[in-house]
């Protein structure tokens, strides 16, 4: 197998953060080459350099032995490198045919040759089995259809090298199977295919070679025949997966927060429950059964929800009813971290420093001078291991894990006693996950408590001390997390017959 394209010593830095450091990769003819790693490992950056989207700050790409320096993806396309980006790279106000041929439109004399464009687009769409008219507006397509258009667009090119950036994330099983057949036939025609994916089965079924990246560095390139899923996962993570969750708390002492009389709207009464000091409690169950509503009611953000909350602090206790926004709950030491950190949790345009100290500022008088609290910021950034070039960098440029840490840090800064968290580690890579879990454990060890909901059952079981199973707005089971299996949670979530009620241990 001859080497078609080669990257040697590629580096790329964004705002001082090294996202790719000295990575080399070689793509051979007739090969499907998996590029894997955690979120933020540098897979996309590496592929974008080969695809001509970005230029490396150091290193060299060679194509069939000749050095190349692409200034745009179109340059790369003309040289025979076709890239299938993720679905959101189409131009939404154009038609399907127009977006497929954008910047290399067929012409007749001075003008666009639309009939030719639509004819060729229709052929390419038929190839991937997508039944949409080339004159449909891109904005009227579903996400899966857009992804298929993207794939058709990439395959239409006369290229020897194809790059697929997580092409299957939005596709259903049939569409994935069809894409796999296309990829295998391209391989048999002697093309070189780079395939970014997280999905283990795809990597092992399709790919003959796998390059693993971690933190912008090359871990290694291996024939997939020499790997199995566990080995690949530990290469990606760089540590044993079991060590992900910190040890559970030993003793759960007296109750820190007691919730009584909770309603999630009319006739939707939730059983009383409590969080012990130092305890992490998970709300689990099937999707959308009321886990979020319970958390948001306690945060004061659920218009139809109501509850009475009793906080037993050191030597003092108080009772209040959260409502009308998060301010009241926050005053009583209950902080809320929403799932959608980009639109609900963080101020993306503000710096790490400002986002961290925002909670502190909220406690200051309205017309007080906003100090920078540099020592507090420094302490938090170190404690949370926030990786950023400077605390003045905007949070927008941070990775998902670091953004999540900033959101967490804001509430650590105000010394909240209870954290309400929706999806503690959504879009966070494995390394940062472990760090976040550790911080939550530390927080509890100092006398706090955490109530979270998560779609990931391994996280529910691994992180929590106790699991409350929620079904149809009711807490249907209350179990210690130790030794709990995913199956037993699902069983509890689906069996809501009165017979199963005795498993509930009534607190208070």
């Amino acid at each position: 197998m001859s080497v078609l394209v080669q990257g040697t010593g590629l580096c790329k830095a964004y705002e001082g953060v090294q996202s790719l450091a000295d990575v080399s990769i070689a793509g051979r003819a007739g090969s499907i080459h998996a590029v894997t790693g955690e979120n933020g490992a540098g897979k996309s950056t590496l592929m974008k350099i080969i695809a001509g989207v970005i230029r490396p700050s150091a290193g060299q790409v060679t194509l069939r032995g000749k050095a190349v320096d692409f200034s745009s993806p179109l340059d790369a396309l003309k040289a025979g490198i076709s890239t299938v980006f993720q679905e959101f790279s189409l131009v939404s106000n154009l038609t399907v045919a127009e977006t497929m041929f954008l910047a290399h439109e067929p012409r007749k004399g001075l003008f666009l040759d639309r009939p030719e464009m639509e004819r060729r687009a229709a052929l390419a769409l038929a190839e991937v089995g997508l039944d949409v008219h080339p004159r449909r507006a891109v904005s009227s397509l579903t996400v899966a259809e857009q992804q298929s258009v993207e794939i058709a667009k990439g395959l239409m090119a006369e290229a020897d090298i194809f790059i697929f950036d997580e092409p299957t994330a939005a596709l259903n099983t049939n569409e994935v199977a069809r894409l796999e057949r296309i990829l295998l036939s391209l391989r048999d025609q002697g093309k070189c295919i780079f395939y970014i994916s997280h999905r283990m089965p795809e990597i092992f079924e399709l790919c003959d070679t796998a390059t693993v990246l971690k933190d912008g560095r090359l871990v290694g390139t291996y024939p997939t025949a020499e790997l199995d899923a566990d080995r690949l996962l530990s290469l990606m993570v760089g540590r044993e997966v079991e060590a992900l969750y910190p040890p559970r708390a030993d003793v759960t002492g007296e109750n820190l927060m007691t919730v009584t009389g909770m309603h999630l709207g009319k006739n939707r009464k939730v059983k009383n429950f409590a969080l012990g000091r130092g305890e992490i409690v998970a709300l689990a169950g099937l999707e959308g059964q009321g886990q979020r509503e319970i958390i948001r009611t306690l945060a004061g953000l659920e218009p139809d929800g109501s509850a009475t909350v009793r906080i037993d602090g050191a030597g003092s206790s108080c009772v209040f009813r959260p409502s009308g926004g998060s301010a009241r709950s926050l005053r009583h030491g209950i902080a809320f971290m929403p799932e959608d950190r980009k639109s609900e949790g963080l101020y993306l345009g503000l710096s790490v420093q400002d986002n961290l100290t925002l909670g502190v500022h909220q406690k200051q008088p309205m017309y007080g001078i906003a100090r920078g609290f540099p020592s507090l910021v420094k302490k938090l950034a170190e404690r949370l291991r926030i990786r950023t070039a400077s605390v003045r960098t905007t949070v927008l440029s941070l990775s998902g894990g670091n953004q999540q840490k900033v959101m967490l840090g804001r509430w650590l800064a105000v010394e909240a006693s209870v954290l309400l968290i929706e999806e503690p580690t959504r879009g966070v890579d494995v390394g940062a996950k472990a760090e976040i879990y550790n911080v939550l454990r530390e927080f509890c060890a100092k006398g706090g408590a955490v109530l979270f909901c998560s779609r990931e059952l391994p996280e529910v079981i691994g992180l929590a001390d106790r699991v409350l199973v929620v079904s149809d707005g009711q807490i249907v089971a209350d179990r210690p997390a130790e030794g709990l299996s995913e199956e037993s949670i699902l069983q509890a979530a689906m069996n809501r017959s009165p017979d199963s009620q005795p498993v509930i241990t009534e607190p208070v």
Binding site: P73, V91, S92, L94, L102, R136, A137, S139
Partner: protein, 308 residues
């Protein structure tokens, strides 16, 4: 599901409908409106606005706007009146338009200055230049140009020919050329357009150049119309052309709309003046109606509505 959806039409057909309704209402209500003299007059009067608005449409489709077109019109009439020779005057004006367009385009596309600030700055600067060249209205315009703007051919005012030609050129550029498709793609999503290989900076600069050239063309027509130069004659066209584009159903955030709507928008704005005149409404009331129409046209549409 193979619906043939005309992409990015925007509110153009609404503008066309409104124009038809307005014409019908005025025809029924006022006998004077139906006279061929009045309708011709209306078309002639709307010509300069229509020509500027065509160029403005191209810029608005990229999510930009150009406030300097008014000063460009005034500059053109001044140059033509001062040079006295239509050929040299037109050539100089077109040259000036290219320079203006490049300056606007480089500022917006290369240095990321907000289009309002960039073109407001060049408009102010250019107005100063116009006043240096021609402080007060005057000068002489060649007879040929006066005839070309005011004359008739086979009973049809030549002004309609100017509008028609400008529309034809604009439509070919926007709907038949790669340039036009790239303008739409930039308005729809500049980052993705760039990813596909569109030369975004170059195309944006070109859009401001073409817009300034259309303004210069409107200026040449104006010079012939008023057979003199006037340093303030174009002043209102900056905002009026944007109003015509918006009333015509093109979205100011870019990507959606087109020239059919712009033509309707320009005619509607002209029609309102004409209608109020026929109704013997105080002419000072005209801006109130124009402003209300603009607000209505913009409010009736959901922002970011794509496709329809």
């Amino acid at each position: 599901m193979n619906i043939r959806l005309p992409a990015r039409t925007g509110g153009q057909y609404a503008a066309l409908g409104l124009l038809v309704v307005a014409v019908a209402a005025l025809s029924v209500g006022f006998q004077d409106f139906r006279t061929s003299g009045n309708i011709e007059n209306l078309l002639v009067q709307a010509t300069p606005l229509l020509i500027v608005a065509i160029g403005q449409t191209l810029v608005v489709l990229t999510n930009g706007l150009d406030l300097s077109v008014g000063a460009m019109i005034s500059l053109t009439t001044a140059i033509i009146a001062v040079t006295g020779s239509p050929l040299a005057g037109v050539a100089l004006s077109l040259g000036a338009a290219v320079v203006l367009g490049v300056v606007n385009g480089v500022g917006v596309a290369r240095f990321k200055v907000h289009p309002i600030i960039m073109t407001l700055a060049t408009a102010t600067l250019l107005q100063g230049v116009v006043l240096v060249i021609l402080p007060t209205p005057g000068g002489a315009v060649a007879v040929g140009l006066v005839h070309a703007a005011n004359g008739e051919l086979l009973g049809i005012p030549l002004a309609i020919l100017w509008s028609g030609l400008a529309l034809l050129v604009g439509a070919l550029l926007l709907h038949k050329s790669r340039f036009g498709l790239h303008l739409y793609s930039i308005g729809g999503g500049a980052d993705n357009a760039k990813l596909a290989g569109v030369h975004v900076t170059r195309t944006l600069i070109a859009s401001y150049v073409v817009c300034a050239l259309f303004a210069a063309l409107a200026g040449v027509f104006m010079a012939g119309r008023i057979s003199s130069g006037d340093p303030w004659v174009g002043a209102s066209y900056g905002l009026d052309s944007i109003a015509a584009v918006a009333v015509g159903g093109t979205q100011l955030i870019g990507g959606i709309g087109g020239l059919l709507g712009t033509a309707c928008g320009a005619l509607l704005l002209g029609l309102i003046g004409n209608g109020l005149n026929l109704m013997q409404v105080d002419p000072f009331f005209l801006p109130v109606v124009n402003g209300s129409l603009l607000l209505l046209a913009v409010c009736l549409r959901r922002r970011k509505e794509l496709g329809l």
